[in-house]
């Protein structure tokens, strides 16, 4: 069987699987074994989702979440990237920050939520700082690794051609480190996404996709929960496949600097 035939078969099976999973869920929901509040039927979920999309509440929740996500992510890049590069270039910076990083990194960002709530109250600041905390480390570590792993041959070649100082830095070191920096960015986005939803759930604040899920639990609104989960899944999928995938295809994959896993 040729490759395109195999792909068509895979797609067909994927559709069948998802349909079967949906049907199974629907069957359980309608069987009456579980309270309807806990396991709403799919049409109920769809109705709730449509209603929330149409009256703009879902959009508002999503905008709050994305605002916190991007703000925290921006901070993480602004701090993590330069610091990581400096650590890769200067031993003194590395010696100072590496021990701190290795001690702080294993602490889950959500562990800081209660402390940050006390310090900054419930709301945007706490959530943004949690996002910042979770996204900084992958950014920083990858920038650091990237700068250190720049092929010494490139440095010598560039040096032989007269590059030094900031020319060497911008024309050789940064492009050479960029595969790692892009991977770091990818990890940072995914971590930030996990953190923002988690922080919203715990540090509830009236708006945000994480908050709406948690709030729905209080009132046993499983349909709202599933509708929000669907939106969260779609946004996550969008980031993962379209945004990050496009960035990688346009850069490191085009340069052939990473091998895509054999399938």
């Amino acid at each position: 069987m040729n490759a395109s035939g195999q792909r068509a078969r895979s797609t067909r099976r994927a559709v069948v699987t998802l349909a079967a999973a949906a049907a199974l869920y629907e069957l359980m929901a309608r069987s009456g074994l579980f309270p309807a509040a806990l396991m709403p039927t799919l049409p109920t979920v769809a109705t709730t989702l449509t209603a929330m999309l149409l009256d703009g509440t879902m959009l508002r929740h999503a905008i709050y979440t994305l605002y916190r996500l991007l703000f925290g992510l921006g901070l993480a890049i602004a701090v993590g990237l330069p610091l990581g590069i400096l650590m890769g270039r200067f031993r003194a910076v590395e010696h100072f920050f590496l021990p701190l990083v290795s001690v702080l990194m294993p602490i889950p960002s959500l562990a800081w939520v209660p402390v940050f709530i006390l310090w900054f109250g419930i709301g945007n600041t706490t959530t943004i700082l949690i996002v910042f905390y979770s996204a900084t480390f992958p950014m920083l570590l990858n920038a650091w690794t990237g700068v250190r792993s720049v092929n010494p041959l490139w440095l010598r070649a560039a040096g032989a051609m007269g590059a030094q100082g900031h020319v060497l830095f911008w024309k050789v070191i940064i492009p050479g480190a960029s595969p790692f920096i892009i991977i770091g960015f990818r990890q940072a986005v995914l971590r930030a996404w996990i953190a923002v939803v988690g922080a919203e759930i715990i540090a509830a604040s009236a708006w945000g996709l994480g908050w709406v899920i948690y709030d729905a639990k209080e009132f046993l609104n499983a349909d709202v929960m599933l509708a929000s989960l669907a939106v969260i899944g779609c946004i996550g999928f969008f980031f993962e496949r379209l945004v990050l995938g496009a960035i990688e295809r346009a850069t490191i994959l085009r340069w052939g600097m990473v091998q895509t896993a054999k399938s």
Binding site: A111, V113, P114, L118, I194, G198, Y214, M225, I232
Partner: protein, 251 residues
């Protein structure tokens, strides 16, 4: 070497101490280091901190253990059978990008607010990276190893045990490592949401009510220590004994 490692902590500790004692922030919210250390010893001596930590670690082990067993098995099956891959991959790819804690309210609603819901969630969330990496690992086993083994008369069972499993091990270990890290991150959050009487996440979240910042920070120290120990002691050892020794990854 020790002095060089200690230096940044001394600096950060000094700054912390200065800010704490300056009176800019209320002492309850920004306690000096000695108060945190004091609380740490007091809670440890009273057995409270160890009890919280123990409950958390047990939850982690049980949840992650379930996730690991199911994840490795499912990932390997998906890697070996095209049909299984077509069936499960869509479900896994839809479930994986959703942040773990977003499932928490749903799981707590379905499986109860307590222990069961929390542990199942931890297992569920940690299974995703394990499935995906085991699956990739089985598919990345070099064709030449399989051919060489077949030529030497390996049957399917032996091919699986002696070639595919060790060949996929670097990926499987990576998956377990990522899964454990995810489980750990999620567990702390879940303990804040679920109604469990013990657990580090619960302890630091509960301390919020009484503005016990020192308790929270003592708890975070323990959380960090456990996280570090999981990474350094468990997985680095395991890798040293297997894939690093075989030269399949560089340490």
């Amino acid at each position: 070497m020790v002095a060089r490692t200690a230096f940044p902590f001394v600096v950060v500790g000094g700054v912390w101490e200065l800010v704490a004692r300056s009176g800019i922030f209320p002492r309850r919210l920004f306690p000096p280091l000695e108060e945190i250390a004091d609380t740490f010893w007091r809670l440890t001596a009273a057995g409270i901190l160890p009890h919280h930590a123990l409950e958390t670690v047990v939850r982690l082990i049980v949840g992650f253990g379930m996730g690991a067993v199911v994840g490795v098995a499912l990932g390997i099956i998906m890697g070996r059978s095209r049909r299984a891959e077509d069936i499960f991959l869509p479900l896994v790819s839809i479930g994986a990008p959703i942040p773990g804690l977003a499932y928490a309210p749903l799981f707590l609603l379905w499986f109860g607010l307590g222990e069961v819901g929390a542990v199942i969630l931890v297992g569920f969330v940690s299974a995703f990276p394990i499935i995906l990496n085991s699956w990739t690992g089985v598919k990345a086993v070099k064709e030449i190893w399989i051919r060489a083994a077949q030529v030497m008369g390996a049957n399917d069972r032996r091919l699986f045990r002696q070639v595919i499993l060790p060949g996929a091990l670097p990926y499987i270990l990576t998956g377990l490592r990522l899964g454990l890290a995810q489980a750990w991150r999620i567990l702390v959050g879940v303990e804040m949401l679920a109604a469990v009487p013990w657990g580090l996440g619960w302890m630091i979240f509960g301390a919020r009510e009484f503005l016990n910042t020192d308790v929270m920070l003592a708890g975070i120290v323990v959380i960090g220590a456990i996280g570090l120990a999981l990474e350094k002691l468990v997985f680095q050892r395991l890798e040293q004994f297997t894939v690093v020794r075989w030269g399949m990854i560089t340490s």
